[in-house]
Symmetry: C2
Subunit: 109 residues, 2 copies
DNA sequence: TCTATTAATCGTAATATTGCAATGTAATAA
DNA sequence: TTATTACATTGCAATATTACGATTAATAGA
């Protein structure tokens, strides 16, 4: 199969899974951390920074862009990327809400 | 390929990716939300709750257990599951730290 | 115009994931 | 002892993901 049965889950559950999935690869985590670290847009040097081939990086960037977590601006021959603030904040709220659920204090297991 | 080049990333990046990956499927999100909602351990009714076949649920539970996010206790013929509090908290700290990075206020893109 | 540079896309191979039927296993019930 | 019940494991088919070489597209500069 390899195909998730998304229709039996809530929109929220599917959305959490979609965001989590994109963070489920260290290269994408590394790209995002780099974008945060630089504190400005990155034009070009992502391929040198992360140790993967150019088409691979391009593919990871595409997925991040598709989910709206980063923005890409064409600047001459290169492309500048940065975090999409509003969408990142929205995503963060969704994820933190999921992660921050109350854990029952009365032990069971 | 289908194989991540984990060796070129930091331990932290790989750890974030591992946790995120397990949340990258709505069934596992649903299982965890159900465990939180019940606020006690779940013995048995997970297959009825989530709409997937028993072997499929069993497999998802295995992955959650493997990462230490849930505990399973044998209780007669059934098995009771609940959130592994300490590990969940540790995981949450790692993830929130990643999600909560400062976004530069000076616009670039 | 020609060429270099940069990044996206295409094509493809290797591997991973998802889902479930069939089967195995362990504990309780009759 | 023999069901029965509850869950794990196995095996497999369908699909997804990862990675990269080759190519293409677009712009900048000579």
């Amino acid at each position: 199969m390899g195909l998730s049965k998304t229709e039996i889950f809530t929109d929220q559950q599917n959305q959490i899974a979609l965001f989590a999935k994109v963070f489920g690869h260290p290269a994408r985590v590394a790209i995002l951390e780099y974008l945060f670290k630089l504190n400005t847009c990155v034009c070009g040097d992502l391929v040198d920074e992360i140790g993967l081939a150019q088409p691979t990086i391009s593919q990871h960037l595409k997925e991040l862009k598709l989910l709206g977590l980063i923005k890409g601006n064409v600047e001459g021959t290169s492309v500048c990327y940065c975090i999409h603030k509003e969408n990142w904040t929205k995503m963060k709220e969704l994820m933190v809400q999921f992660l921050d659920q109350d854990i029952n204090t009365t032990n069971c297991c």
